[in-house]
Symmetry: C2
């Protein structure tokens, strides 16, 4: 465990050895995630909606019309939960009960609010894109005022946050189960990016996006140069 | 769009071309997901918690103590949302605004309830494991009564459900943006399993899990035989 829990609601009650409360860990999990799940309530029904997200300092911007629709039904902010989860592996223990998942997850609790300002919406769109594909923003047509108006952006502060991390192999080698004739270990899981595929409608003579190429190379250092 | 929305709450309002309401699509998204996010409210605070899940017929079982804790605070069931999301690619359009993600997501709305029966808990544990690593259940030590008692399982029916699917390249090749000198296309995303790694504490002479090997081979047909 690193740091102290900012509130009781985010303090891990079970498996507290897996808890992390430091901003470095929380930010790195948020920033490495390609997608977040946003939890909120709309007319009494809880939702957990997948969405793009981007951290800008102490704020996390989220893309999405469902959340904006829920916000329109209330005055001011709406209680929400933003979660980013990475799967890193499957842990195969000797007993069914001790099987587990290696993962990193970050959870923010707080109030979400709608972004109304055109300039802040533009900043959020740039942050979504630059986080997914660094350098792409400068390659593409910038958003028009009409497009910005049609974009729904929601923002949450990083205030009450916690992370949960499990890594490594099984834990049951020491005890009685360690004597069983059962194979134990782990299966690593990774998210891989393939080579950029051109739009069939792409006009001739347009070079492949430098940002896309750089991203694919950066995410696969072990194979760079081999293709 | 396939099928009809089972309720207004799950009907897609925007991007309705991406909606799927047929059970075949919904089940395949649920069954292929390694992790789900469970949305619910505990003492006024919405949560979206990553968890293992497994579909058994018309029910989805979910592993987790946070959800069970929330359930203990109410009589009967608790409104919940179960979401499984797969990322399949990044869509690079010619304009910032048209950038998108290829994905498949399934969302169930309904009431979750706690599983109390030992036999049903055992069935759910088996379903979690067999979905992650088919064949593993028969290889390992079965759960004891004490372990089953310590396991929190929650269940949700597949009743109000919808799926959302986006695939393919950018859509802006036809319009005015198609004339721009901007590369457009997609970057595929896939989830890859690595080779099984033995627990350093594994005793000598225990062969690698047949279930683990079969899983890794089945998930990577293009490489089978090459390692």
């Amino acid at each position: 465990m690193t740091g102290a829990a900012p509130s009781n609601r985010v303090r891990l009650v079970r498996e507290h050895k897996r808890a992390r409360y430091d901003r470095g860990t929380i930010d790195s999990i948020l920033d490495a995630g390609l997608v977040a799940h946003l939890g909120f309530v709309d007319r009494g029904q809880p939702f957990a909606i997948p969405t793009l997200h981007a951290r800008v300092g102490d704020l996390v911007y989220v893309h999405g019309s469902s959340a904006s629709r829920a916000l329109r039904a209330v005055d001011g902010g709406l209680p929400a939960c933003l979660t980013v989860t990475h799967l890193d592996g499957i842990v195969l223990s000797r007993s069914a009960f001790e099987h587990d998942i290696n993962y990193r997850s970050a959870i923010l609790l707080g109030e979400m609010s709608a972004v109304g300002e055109e300039a802040e919406k533009r900043l959020a769109l740039e942050a979504f894109m630059e986080r997914l594909i660094p350098g792409r923003w400068a390659e593409v047509r910038q958003p028009s005022r009409k497009e910005l108006k049609a974009t729904s952006i929601v923002v949450m502060p990083i205030d009450e946050a916690s992370a949960k991390v499990r890594s490594g192999g099984p834990d049951d080698g020491d005890g009685e189960d360690g004597e069983l004739d059962v194979w134990a270990g782990q299966i690593p899981i990774s998210t891989e990016l393939g080579e950029p595929l051109p739009d069939p409608a792409l006009r001739d003579g347009i070079a492949v996006s430098a940002a896309a190429l750089a991203l694919v190379r950066a995410r696969r250092p072990e194979r760079s140069g081999s293709r």
